[in-house]
Every structure is written in structure tokens, then in C-alpha cells.
Symmetry: C2
Subunit: 325 residues, 2 copies
């Protein structure tokens, strides 16, 4: 049986594989400087961890170690590449306490640094003949792109629906969590029912993760999370707290004029605080917290339906940690 | 033996495969509108044509028809995705007489439309278990990205060297031409020596193609090619005509002040004409034309070293066409 100590050892191998995946022959050149910067940022590595733990539910996990730690690295590098492209679009100055690629080297370099990482994943997929898992991973990337495009098409729209919002976050965030669990379960040798359950767990956890992120943008202060509060709202991306508040006709009536100003010009601090007050008063924040709790309960329920192994305990651990942060 | 009629039939299959590769389940939604626009543009299809003709030098070409027409489509879609990302970086309003994706739907949507196409290629690579060719293709994409990053790092630099310029264009343009020929030759069943020759042909033709493109930016009038003249220079990208002119110390002395102004502010029409005059007078344009002819001769020489089949005649045809345009 595998325990959490094992996971940490396996994660060391994932780190080595991330280094191999992001290796390039341009050391000591300006191109190399860009690629090094693009790949140096750390992160919580939650997606590769989910992949490995999911694999531990299966009986082929041990023998597939090399393949699994490579796939876990591929999932993380996919995430890394997507962050580089997100930062271009968001014009983000920072990423994890250091300058973003786009801020340091320009958007041009950042577009192609992200593309370079995607090509590296494609290369390893070909080299290691990862057919089934490659299809799941690339399918997830397609969904991520569709989610991001969907979000950009909904931007500034005061009539964006909850259904559209959910559809977008399911693409941009959930799909890769789901794929991580599915790939791990498949390659670890789980049976079909367990694969589907882990897939559901990944999807539910991913959605919860994004809701937390959207809520943090509402409630965090500027010093933490390294980004200004209400960045989403300022960018015309209306997330769950706003959408839930707008179910109240009075809140809607007060929010729409602010959204219209937002579209045409930068909102003042007072206007942002007014928006925040309306969303708070109409229970948008509290209702989002409830949604997150509901997702956590659903995750726990799915875990309860899986065999109660050390792997299941490790997934509980991740769930708890996300709830406490 | 295969003739040019066959190639046209095969190209019809390539078109069907391009349609399959760019298919998506988002029809009738805003996401679908973006993806449809991103994939509707035509083009000369020179890269897939090179792949198919290269395959025709081998003895497995006929039996590999399905695989070859799919790979040809993958190469073309790779090119398509790279154009979508190029247009973001160049802020290009048009692409082939219609609005570019970035102009019509914004940079956000364009970043992810390009990524979506790359994910589709990755998906088909996994589905069809294209290992060897997948490695060549993804390796070429890595080189394309490095070339583009290299170009962006050289931007505005008055001291950019011919070596840096060549290194960048070899990545951004040559690599995919080369990969198209190599993949075709490999999958068509050519022997090692023929594969290497076709690879060399692709590389030489690709470099010639980019030199032509850079020259056209210098000499074309605005009405043709759908772009303003001297876009590269205005963008701080100094190409072969400029670099060759700068070998003349007097031209260098006159060009550097214009480059310095260029970096800080938009050049006036008079300044652009002055730059053009200097480059012309010092023979930069004529020397670039000579370089292109030298490449064409080298391409013809490589073709002379290949078996004189219908396939070789078809490559001559492509070479002639590029020279006459």
C-alpha cells in the first residue's frame, strides 16, 4: 500500500521530469533567458499530485511509476504554459512574487514561451507513445481554450448568465483537474467505475478551486495573493459572487449602471467599494461561500464512495487544505 | 509513378483532414464563431504539398496515403495556428484579405484560438499514434517558437547581426518547411540519404521563402500583399536588405540615427523613404535578390541530386513558382 511519504518521493521525480520537459538547447542566449524565466516559477503542484494519488487506487501503479511521474509533469507544464498565456491576456505584472514573462520580456516572447512549452509536451507525448493519456490531456487543453475564449466573449456583458459562467470555468479550470485524475486512474490500472469516480472528484474539486479563486479576488486584500482585489470585475469578468447577487432584482438594478461605467472607463475606488457593498449586502459573497462548501461536501461524498485506502486519505488531505486556505 | 494530377487529388484529402482537425463541438456559440473564423482562412498550402511530394520519393507512399494526408493537414494547421499568434504580436488588422482573429475577436480569444488548434494537433497525434513524425513536428514547433522569441529579443537593436537574423528565420520559418519534407520522406519510406536530401531541400526553400517575404515587405506596394510596406522596419525588425546595406560603413552611419528615432517614436513617411533610399543605394535590396537567387540555385542543385521522378519535377514546379511570384 502507498502512503503519503511515497507521494512525496514520487513528487521529487515529477520535479525532475518537469526539469526534463522544460529543458532546451538555448542556454546562455536571450532565447534561453526567456525560457528559463518562463519555467522557473514553482507552484503548489496540486494537479500532478492529484494524478499520482488517483493512480494509487489502481493495481498497476507501482510498475507504471516512470510513466505516471512523466504524465504528472506534463499536466503541470500544461498548467504552467496556460498561466503564461493568461498573464498576457490579463496584462499581469506578477506571477508568484516575480515578474510575469510578459512583463519582463514582452507579450511577443510570452506567447511563444507558452507555445514552446506546449510543443515540449507534444514532443514527450510522441516520444513516449502516450496515446490514450495524450488524448485525454489534449482534449482537456481544447476545453481549457474553449473556456478561456468563452470567458473573453462574455467580457463586459451585464447579462452574462450563471450557465455561461459555469461553462467557462468548467473549461478553463475544471477540465485539467478532471484530466489529471482520469489519466492517473487510467494509467494506474483502476477499473472503469473507479476511473469515473475519480474523474468526478477531479471535476468537483476543480470547480471548487475556481470558485475559491473567484471569491478570493473579491475578498483578499492587495498584499496577499499578489494581485489587486476585484481584478476580475475591473476586467469585465463577472464571477459567481456578482452573478448570485444579481439574482436580487434590486441589486441588479444598482449593479448594472456600475457595469456600464466599467465598460467605458476605469472605475474609481468609490465605485468599486459601492459594487462590493451591493454584492455583500445581497448575499453574493455568502452564497458563493455556501457553493464552495457544497462542492467540498460533494467531493467528500465521492471520496466516501471510493475504497478507503491511503490514496483516499491523501485526497481528503488535499480537499481539507483547499478548504482551510 | 505519381504525377501532379495525383497530388491535386491527395490535396483534396488534405483539405478534408484540415476540416476534421479544425472541427469542434462549439457550433452556434460565440466560442464556435471564434474557432470558425480562426480556421476559415485558406492559403497556398505549400507546406502540406511539400510533405506529400517528398513522400512520393519513397516506396511506401501509396499505402500510407491516409496517414500522409493527415500529417500534411497537421503541418498546415500548425502553420495556421502560428499565423494566429503572429497576428497578435504584430497587431495585424488583416490576414489574407479578411480581419485577423485578434482584430475581430481580441487578443485574448486569438491566443486561445491558436492554442486550441495546437491542442487539436496534439490530439490527432495521440489518436493516430504518430510517434516518429510527431517528434519531428513538435521539434519543429519548438524551433519556430525559439525563432520568434529570438526575433523579439533582437527587436529595435541597431547592432543585430546577420547570424542572429539567420538563426531567427531558420527557426521561425525554415524549421516547418524542413519538417514537412522530412516527415513526408520518412513516412513515404525513403532511404536515409533521400530523407536527408529532402530535408536539406526543405530547409533551403524555407529560408528562400522567408527572404522573399522580407524583401516583399521592402518593395511591395501597400495595395498588394495586404500589408503596409516596411512593416518590419517600423516594428524594429531589421531584415536582410537592411543588414546587408549596413555592411557599408556609410550606410550604417546614416541608418543608425533613423533606427534610434524608430525606437522612440513612429517614423514619418519621409524618414521611411530616406531609410529605403539608403538601403537601395547601398545595394541591400539587390544583394538580397542575389541571396534569393543563390538559394534557388542551391535548391535546384539538391533536386538534381535526387532521383529524377515526377516527384522531383513537382518540387521544381514549386521552386519555379516561388521564384516568379
Amino acid at each position: 500500500m502507498i502512503n503519503s511519504m511515497d507521494i512525496d518521493h514520487w513528487m521529487d521525480e515529477v520535479e525532475s521530469n518537469i526539469a526534463a520537459l522544460t529543458a532546451h538547447p538555448y542556454g546562455g542566449t536571450p532565447v534561453g533567458d526567456v525560457l528559463d524565466w518562463a519555467t522557473a516559477s514553482g507552484g503548489k503542484r496540486i494537479r500532478p499530485r492529484l494524478l499520482l494519488i488517483s493512480a494509487m487506487f489502481g493495481d498497476r501503479c507501482g510498475e507504471q511509476r516512470e510513466r505516471l511521474t512523466l504524465l504528472a509533469a506534463m499536466v503541470e507544464v500544461t498548467h504552467l504554459a496556460s498561466l503564461i498565456h493568461d498573464d498576457i491576456v490579463d496584462e499581469a505584472p506578477y506571477r508568484r512574487d516575480r515578474q510575469s514573462v510578459q512583463a519582463k520580456f514582452g507579450k511577443h516572447a510570452a506567447v511563444y514561451a507558452g507555445d514552446f512549452l506546449m510543443a515540449r509536451i507534444q514532443y514527450f507525448q510522441a516520444k513516449e507513445k502516450l496515446s490514450e493519456s495524450g488524448m485525454v490531456l489534449s482534449g482537456a487543453i481544447e476545453q481549457m481554450c474553449a473556456g478561456e475564449i468563452g470567458q473573453s466573449m462574455c467580457r463586459w456583458r451585464e447579462d452574462v448568465t450563471m450557465q455561461e459562467y459555469l461553462c467557462n470555468i468548467r473549461g478553463k479550470t475544471t477540465a485539467l483537474f478532471e484530466a489529471a485524475c482520469r489519466i492517473g486512474a487510467m494509467e494506474g490500472g483502476c477499473d472503469g467505475a473507479v476511473i469515473d469516480k475519480l474523474d468526478q472528484f477531479g471535476a468537483c474539486l476543480g470547480e471548487m478551486f475556481q470558485l475559491r479563486d473567484d471569491l478570493m479576488d473579491f475578498t483578499a486584500d492587495t498584499s496577499c495573493a499578489g494581485k489587486e482585489t476585484h481584478k476580475d470585475f475591473r476586467d469585465g469578468i463577472y464571477t459567481m459572487p456578482v452573478l448570485l447577487a444579481m439574482r436580487d432584482p434590486e441589486a441588479k438594478e444598482r449593479l448594472i449602471p456600475i457595469m456600464r461605467v466599467n465598460r467605458d472607463q476605469e472605475l474609481s475606488g468609490e465605485q468599486i467599494r459601492e459594487m462590493e457593498r451591493i454584492v455583500q449586502e445581497c448575499g453574493g459573497v455568502e452564497a458563493t461561500r455556501r457553493e464552495i462548501r457544497r462542492h467540498a461536501e460533494r467531493c467528500a461524498q465521492i471520496l466516501g464512495e471510493l475504497p478507503g485506502t491511503a490514496a483516499s486519505a491523501a485526497l481528503y488531505e488535499i480537499l481539507k487544505q483547499l478548504q482551510s486556505e
